[in-house]
Amino acid sequence: MQLTELRIAGFGGQGVIMCASVIGRAASIVENGYATMTQNFGPEARGGACSAQLVLSPTPVLYPYVNKADLMVLMSQEAYVKFAQDIKPGGTLIVEQDLVRVQGLDIPDVKVFAIPATRIAEELGKKMVLNVVMTGFFGAISQLISRESLRKAVLDSVPAAFAELNGKAYDAGYEYGLKHMQSGALDLGEEDPVTITE
């Protein structure tokens, strides 16, 4: 795995940190590389801005921060506004389709992928697993870590009782990703998928 810098962000309660942590675990423990995850969060238990930075590397990571990310996973509009401009040219942006309106992004060659992870999670019966759906989607899109390694990291990170649900969520995200990859990245001119503001 080459040096890859990621940022994952959204709001508290979406499982941003766990998403990053699973990826880091897959890269460093399951696949025996190196990963450094740092996080930022506010005082809110729910709903506050929350973000994680992840550096994946074949050698030990020194500087733990991400300046320009190779890949970003953004799950809220706030996160989008705050971070999207820090994607590397040619980088990849993954968003929660119902919560992020991708607009005004003028970085060259950014590939954008969207997934209605919250809805998929709700359909699976637990909104809470939206981050695992995201993780699967990320796995498929990024192809950084093998499908199985990432899945193992997911299952290692959740209580046994929730293994099945999380496995399903992961697979749903992954499959959605595979499908989406085929159909290609989003056209940035697309319709606003979200938000009612009276």
């Binding site: 309660g13 005082p43 238990a45 729910r46 009276e198």
Partner: protein
Amino acid sequence: MSTPICIQKAPENPVESFLRTDRMPHIWCPGCGIGTTVNCFTRALIDSKTDLNKLSIVSGIGCTGRVAGYVNLDSFHTTHGRAIPFATGLKLASPEMTVVVYSGDGDLFAIGGNHLIHAARRNVDLKVICVNNLTYAMTGGQTGPATPLDVITATAPYGTYDPAFNLPYLVEAAGAVYVARWTTFHVKQLAKSMQEMFKKKGFCFIEVVSPCPTLYQRRNKMGDALDTMKFYKEVSKVKHGAPTNEVGLSKSGEIIVGKFVDRERPDFETMMKAHLEASLGEKYIPAEAPTCS
């Protein structure tokens, strides 16, 4: 959406003028009961016609402690556990002020427990509103001194085994003159209790049992905030004047609510003034509203 709701013409939400609206949205979670208590507080302030210029609110640290930062009043967000001694200083220095202490069960009864019992003993004229969400929420849901037996918390992963305080009992034993308990389901009653408290001189205490769906209910598979409110509705029993030693809370048992104590006892300042006047006569110069040259 199906129904047009006319926002332009609607009068302002009565809570609005009590808020530092430039700080909205607040940090509280979906279904957190703290906001509900603030509604009751503002309604009680309106109905009791309290002079808002002579009202201060003092909070400690915690989710509840953030109330001080959202209300558009003289408001003090102090250190963890120390709202009461700060409020004591504030009250004694400006006796004309109504001083409300608004904080969490952990802040008031864990780290701040000593100040609470001493202020109650002295009968300092403070109005204490304790939002009891049965946990330390701000730090992620650890066991607090009001956490019932047999619940899962971040520091009791196998369930709590240390008994909780019965807050009204302890506060009465320490000396409070007014003690009531409600849940966030009892919005009207709570607002009324608050009104009574604003009118009463001395150390007053209202416990509001409140959901922390994020950290307490969720961990204990008690459903979401709405389930909790329904639970309150179901298990609460109003018993005014109930002996406080019989109102302890448990994980899923009855919640006795009501006004438990309402007694007369001169407050600290009254005692002080009367006593010093009697001892010193003419020589006594009471502390006046401050000038501070």
